[in-house]
Symmetry: C2
Subunit: 640 residues, 2 copies
C-alpha cells in the first residue's frame, strides 16, 4: 500500500497527493482551492460540504448533514479523513467563472454585427391593459372581453388560456376595476394567456438564455421588456462525471437508469446556475417566463431525457432536430410554472442547436453577396459555410483541448487561467492571467499562443516534438514524459509546476488538425477554395480573446487576410439570447436549420488523408500557409 | 326525544322511519333499497359501504375500512346502528339508470335528423403507418420522418409532440421496423402527437361524451374510429348534496373551500360513471383519448374550478363562454394522461354548452327556409328560436320538477318510475313503470301525463286545485296538505303512498309556466308569433317518451299542429357525441355560440305578466290553446 493517497479535486481536474489520515478540509486548503468553513471545522455550519464521486472516505456523522444527503456521497470535509485514492467534487465553483465567457459581450460590444437581428419582440409578452366592465347589454364572459381588449390594444389574438389563469381571472379582473397585467405566450398561430396579475404588477419579467455545452454551461437572465442582460453565470456541466465528450455520455446512457441520471444532472446544472443568476439579477425564479436553450444535439436529447443512442449509430439519427416547445416544469427546471423551454433547432446528430443559434449571431444569414465560414470550436467542432441564400455544414470530433479539457495544464477561461503567452527570443516567457493572480493553468487562447510561440521560436518541431537543445532550460521530465515548463510550482496557484507535455501538444495538434481538415474538406465538397471566403467567424470556448495570428501559425485557421477573421466568443449563447428576444429570429433559425445541407465527413473518401496532413505545424503542405512559411524562413520551413 | 329516527336515503330522496337501535343494513333492506353484502353482515366484505352525509351514527370499527375512509363519513352499514336522524348516501345507484336516458338513442333511432352532422372525423385520430428507416443520405430525425409520413399518408401537419412521446419515439419506431400506430390531436392549425405504439396496436381508441347536468350526468363511451356507442351510464350529479339548482350551488361555493369541494364532486361523479362505462364497454380508462362535455355554464365552471359567483350577480358574467381545451389530467379525470377535455361553448351565463350542443343535434342549424324552436326543459329551461341564418336564445328558471326534483313523488327516469299515466272516465288509473316492477314515483313524462289527465278529467281546476267531489275517492290529506293518490303504499316499491299533492301541482305549473312564458316572450321579442314556427324540437330529462298532446294540454308546449313537435330526449348528450366525433361540428357550434342573440328575460318589461298568465291550465288566455278549449267544451272552459 502506497503511503500517500491521490485526491483529484473536481471540477478543477487537479490531482494532489496527501498522507493517509489527512483531514479533507485541510487537504483542500493545502491544495489552494476555495472552500468555506464558518464553524472552523466543528461540523456544524455545513459550508464545507463536498461530494465524493470516486473512492471511499471515513467521515464522522454530523448533525449538520441529513442522512439522505450523506447517502448521495456528500460529506463535510472537516469531518472526513483521507484514507484512500479519491475524487472529490468541490462546491460553488461556478461563481469563479468570469463574466466575459458570456455571449452577451457580443451584444454589448459589437452591436454593428447584430444590426437587424437584435430586436425585442419576444414570443412571450407582458401587457398592461384595462378590461372594460361587463354590462347588461354586453355581459360576454371575462375571457372574451379580455381577448377583445388585447386584440384591440396589441393586435394579438389570444386563442388559449391556462387553467390556472382561468381560475383566478374573475377575481383578478375585478380587483382593480379591470386594470390588469397579462402575460401571453405565442403558441401556433395564436397566443396563450399564461399569467394574469391585478394592476401594474411590480414583478420582473425575464427570460433565460442558456448555452448548454458539453463541458460548460452558461446562463443569462434577460429582461424581456428591454433586452438588457441582468446577470450571467457559468459552470461546468455536471454530466462531466459521466464522460468528457458526447460519445462517452451516449455510451454511459446505455445502461438502465443512466439516461435519467444524465437528465437529472443537466437539470441540476441549469437549476444551480439559475439560483446564482436570479440572486445576482435580483429576480425570483418565477419571474422567468421562458427559456431559450442552445445545445448540441446530444446535450439537448439528454436534457429532455431522450435516448441518444441512435445519434452515434450509423446512420446517426437523432429523435428530433426541431424540438417542440416543452414546459419547463415538466423537465424540473425551477422557473415560472407556465414557462416553456425553446430549444434551438438542430440540423443533424452532430450539428446542433448551438450551431444554428450561433449562426444567427454572425452576419452570415444577412449577407447575400459574400461567402463566409463559421467555425465553432467547442468540444465538438462544427463548421458552416455559405451566405443568406445557401449553407452547408459539417461536424468533426475536435475534443475539448481548447476548452480546457484533455491536457493536464488546460482550464476553461476561469480566474487563474493564463489567457495569453509570449516567448521572447531569449526564451523568457511572459503571460497574462485572468484575474491577475497566480496561474492555475492555460485556457484555450493561452494554449494557442503557447503552441504558436513554441513552434515559431523553434522550441518544438513541426511534428510537435520538443527540440531538446533549444528547450533545454525549460525541459522537464516526469511520469507523463517530456514537457515544457510554463511556470514553476512555487509561483503557481496550486504549488505544482505548470507543464505542457509532448502528449498535451499532440492532443492540441489533433484538435486543430480535426478543425482545419474539416474546413478544407467542407469547402472541397462544395467546390470552394479558402481564398473564396470573404469572412471567417470564430466562436467557441477559447476565452476572451483569441490571437488570430497565432491560430493561423499553428494551422488551426486558414492563412487568409487577417482582417477577414472575427472572433465572436460564445456565439451559442448570443444566439440563444437573440432567439429568446425575437419571434422573427426564432422563425429564421428554424427555417435555416431545415434547409442547411449537412455533409457527413465520415462518408467522405478523402477524410483520413486530409486529417493526417493536418497533424503537423501548421500542415504537411506548408504551401497552404504562405505567411507562416515566410515567417519561418527557408531553413526552418525545411527542418522537418 | 322521539322514539323513532328519520332516515333519508340518498340519492333516492326517500325518507323512512326506524326505531332507534336499528342496524343500518337491516334498515336499508326494510326500505326496499338495493344494497349488497357478501359477508352477511360480518363487516369484512366492504360491499355495504355507505356514507353518512347528515347526522351522527354509531359504528364498530372494522378491518375492512381504512381510517381515512371512515373520517370522510363512510361506514359499513352492517356495523352501524341508527341512533339519530340521518341522511345516508347509498352506493352504486347509477347502475339502475336506464340506458334510454342517453342521447345516443337519437343517433341510433333518428339518423334522418342527423344527416350531414353525423360523421366520424374527430379531432383526435389514430393512424397506423410505416416510418421509413433513416439512411446515411437521409438521416433526418425520427420526428421529421414521422411528420413527413403522416403528411403524405393522412394529409395532417404535425406541429407538436408531447414530451412523453418524444422520449419513447426512437425505441417505438425501431421495435417493429417502422411499423407504428400514432395518436394525433388537433391543436390550433396543426396536430399534436399524443401517443405512439409499435405495430398495429390492439388497444381501443375511444372518446367520452358527457352530459354534465345539474341533476343527472350521463356518460357515453364512443369508439372514435367508427362512432359506435360502446356503453352508456348515468347517475346523479354528486353536487346535489350542495344544492338542487345552479343558484344554490353558486351560493354554496361562496364559502372558502367550497368551490374546491364542488369541483371534486363533479370530477368524482364523472370518474364514477367512467368506471362503470369502461367496464361495460370493455375498454381501459387510458383508452379514452378525448372528452367532449356539454354542461350549462355553471356546471362547466364548477367542473373546471372557476368561481361562478359573477354568473348570478348582475350583469351575469361568466369567466368564460368558449373554454380553451384543458388536459383531463389537470382536472383529475381518470382517462389517458394526454386526453383533453373539450367543453361545448356557452352563449352566456344561463345559456350554456348543453344548449349549443343540443342545438347541433336538431336540424335547426341546417334548415335555411324554416323557422324552428328548440326547448330544453332541464332544471333550467333554455330556448332557442331561429334557423341556419339567425338564432335568438333565452333562459328561464324552470326548476327540476320534470327531472324528478321538487316534488315528493318525482324521480328521474330510473327503474321504478312511472313514465306514462292514463285516467279512465271512471276515475280508474293505469300507469306504466320503467322496468315493470312496483312503482317508486313518477318521472317527467309521467308527471306531464298525470297533470294533463287530472286536468282534462276534471280532478283539478285550471288553478291546479283538487276538485273535492270529483277527486273524493283518491283524495288524501297529510302533513303536506291535500293530495291525489296515485298508488297505495301496499303496491308501491317503498311501501309508501305515491301522492301528488296540491303543492306538487303548483310546482309543476310554475315550471311549465316558466317555460311557456319564456317561449312567448322570446318570440315576441323578435317579432314572431307561435303560428310562424315550422318545427318545435324538445329536449330534456322527461324520460323516454314525452306525450306531446298532454304537454300541450297543460300549457307546457304551444298549441300547434302536433306534427311539428319532435321530442328528442337528451339533446345535450347527443350534441356532445357529435362534437366528439367531428371537427366540423366543433367549429360549427363554436361559430353558432359566438353569434347567437342572447335575450335577458329579467330585463324584459313584460316578463312578470307573461309568467303570471301562464300559471293556469293551460293558460289564463285559453284562446292561445284552441284545441284544449275545444276538448274541455264551453262549460269546462268557463269553470275557472
Amino acid at each position: 500500500m502506497k503511503k500517500n493517497a491521490q485526491v483529484e479535486f473536481l471540477p478543477f481536474r487537479s490531482i494532489h497527493s496527501f498522507a493517509r489520515g489527512t483531514n479533507l478540509l485541510d487537504a483542500v486548503r493545502k491544495a489552494g482551492l476555495p472552500i468555506k468553513s464558518a464553524c472552523g471545522g466543528k461540523g456544524t455550519c455545513g459550508e464545507c460540504l463536498v461530494r465524493v464521486v470516486r473512492g471511499r472516505i471515513e467521515s464522522r456523522s454530523s448533525a449538520a448533514l441529513p442522512g439522505d444527503i450523506r447517502d448521495s456521497g456528500y460529506v463535510l470535509a472537516c469531518q472526513a479523513v483521507i484514507e484512500d485514492d479519491l475524487a472529490v467534487e468541490l462546491p460553488r465553483f461556478e461563481e469563479q467563472f468570469i463574466r466575459a465567457e458570456a455571449g452577451s459581450r457580443l451584444i454589448r460590444e459589437r452591436p454593428d454585427m447584430l444590426s437587424g437581428v437584435f430586436e425585442v419582440r419576444p414570443l412571450i409578452r407582458k401587457i398592461r391593459l384595462s378590461v372594460p366592465a361587463a354590462t347588461l347589454s354586453d355581459n360576454s364572459g371575462d375571457l372574451l372581453r379580455l381577448q377583445r381588449k388585447i386584440h384591440k390594444q396589441a393586435g394579438l389574438r389570444v386563442s388559449r388560456a391556462e387553467l390556472g389563469v382561468l381560475k383566478k381571472m374573475a377575481a383578478v379582473i375585478r380587483e382593480q376595476d379591470g386594470d390588469i397585467t397579462a402575460v401571453l405566450a405565442k403558441s401556433g398561430s395564436g397566443w396563450t394567456l399564461v399569467d394574469l396579475q391585478p394592476g401594474p404588477s411590480p414583478k420582473a419579467f425575464c427570460g433565460l438564455a442558456c448555452d448548454l455545452g458539453t463541458t460548460t454551461v452558461v446562463c443569462e437572465i434577460i429582461d424581456l421588456q428591454d433586452g438588457r442582460v441582468l446577470s450571467t453565470t457559468a459552470g461546468f456541466n455536471q454530466q462531466l462525471r459521466c464522460g468528457e465528450d458526447v460519445i462517452s455520455r451516449i455510451d454511459y446512457a446505455r445502461r438502465p437508469g443512466r439516461l435519467e441520471e444524465l437528465q437529472a444532472l443537466a437539470v441540476q446544472t441549469v437549476n444551480a446556475l439559475l439560483e446564482t443568476s436570479c440572486r445576482e439579477a435580483g429576480v425570483a425564479n418565477e419571474d422567468i417566463y421562458e427559456i431559450s436553450l442552445a445545445g448540441n444535439t446530444t446535450m439537448t436529447h439528454l436534457l429532455l431525457g431522450l435516448d441518444p443512442r441512435f445519434i452515434r449509430e450509423e446512420p446517426y439519427t437523432p429523435t428530433v432536430n426541431l424540438v417542440p416547445d416543452i414546459k419547463a416544469a415538466d423537465l424540473g427546471l425551477r422557473v415560472n410554472a407556465e414557462a416553456r423551454v425553446h430549444c434551438a433547432p438542430a440540423v443533424g446528430s452532430y450539428v446542433g442547436g448551438d450551431i444554428t443559434a450561433g449562426l444567427l449571431s454572425t452576419p452570415i444569414l444577412r449577407d447575400a453577396g459574400i461567402t463566409s465560414l463559421f467555425i465553432d470550436a467547442g468540444t465538438n467542432g462544427e463548421l458552416v459555410v455559405g451566405n443568406k441564400d445557401w449553407l452547408a455544414t459539417c461536424a468533426c470530433s475536435a475534443g475539448p483541448a481548447f476548452e480546457g479539457g484533455g491536457t493536464r495544464c488546460g482550464l476553461p477561461a476561469v480566474e487563474g487561467a493564463i489567457e495569453a503567452v509570449r516567448i521572447a527570443g531569449s526564451g523568457s516567457l511572459e503571460y497574462r492571467v485572468i484575474g491577475g493572480g497566480k496561474p492555475k493553468g492555460l485556457c484555450g487562447s493561452g494554449l494557442v499562443d503557447l503552441l504558436a510561440e513554441l513552434f515559431t521560436q523553434g522550441f518544438i518541431d513541426r511534428g510537435g516534438r520538443l527540440v531538446q537543445e533549444r528547450a533545454r532550460k525549460r525541459l522537464v521530465q516526469n511520469g507523463e514524459g517530456a514537457g515544457f515548463l510554463v511556470e514553476e510550482g512555487s509561483r503557481s496557484f496550486w504549488g505544482r509546476d505548470i507543464v505542457l507535455t509532448e502528449k498535451d501538444i499532440a492532443n492540441l495538434i489533433r484538435t486543430k488538425g480535426a478543425v482545419f481538415s474539416a474546413c478544407a474538406l467542407l469547402l472541397k465538397n462544395i467546390g470552394l477554395t479558402f481564398d473564396r471566403l470573404d469572412a471567417v467567424y470564430i466562436g467557441g470556448g477559447f476565452g476572451q480573446r483569441l490571437d488570430v495570428e497565432n491560430a493561423v501559425r499553428i494551422g488551426l485557421l486558414p492563412d487568409l487576410d487577417r482582417g477577414k477573421f472575427h472572433y465572436l466568443g460564445n456565439t451559442s449563447l448570443a444566439g440563444a439570447s437573440l432567439i429568446l428576444l425575437s419571434e422573427r429570429n426564432r422563425d429564421l433559425v428554424q427555417a435555416v436549420a431545415g434547409k442547411m445541407t449537412y455533409v457527413e465527413l465520415n462518408a467522405e473518401p478523402g477524410y483520413m488523408n486530409e486529417y493526417t496532413g493536418s497533424l503537423f505545424l501548421p500542415h504537411t503542405d506548408i504551401g497552404l500557409f504562405p505567411s507562416v512559411e515566410k515567417l519561418l524562413g527557408p531553413k526552418k520551413s525545411l527542418r522537418d
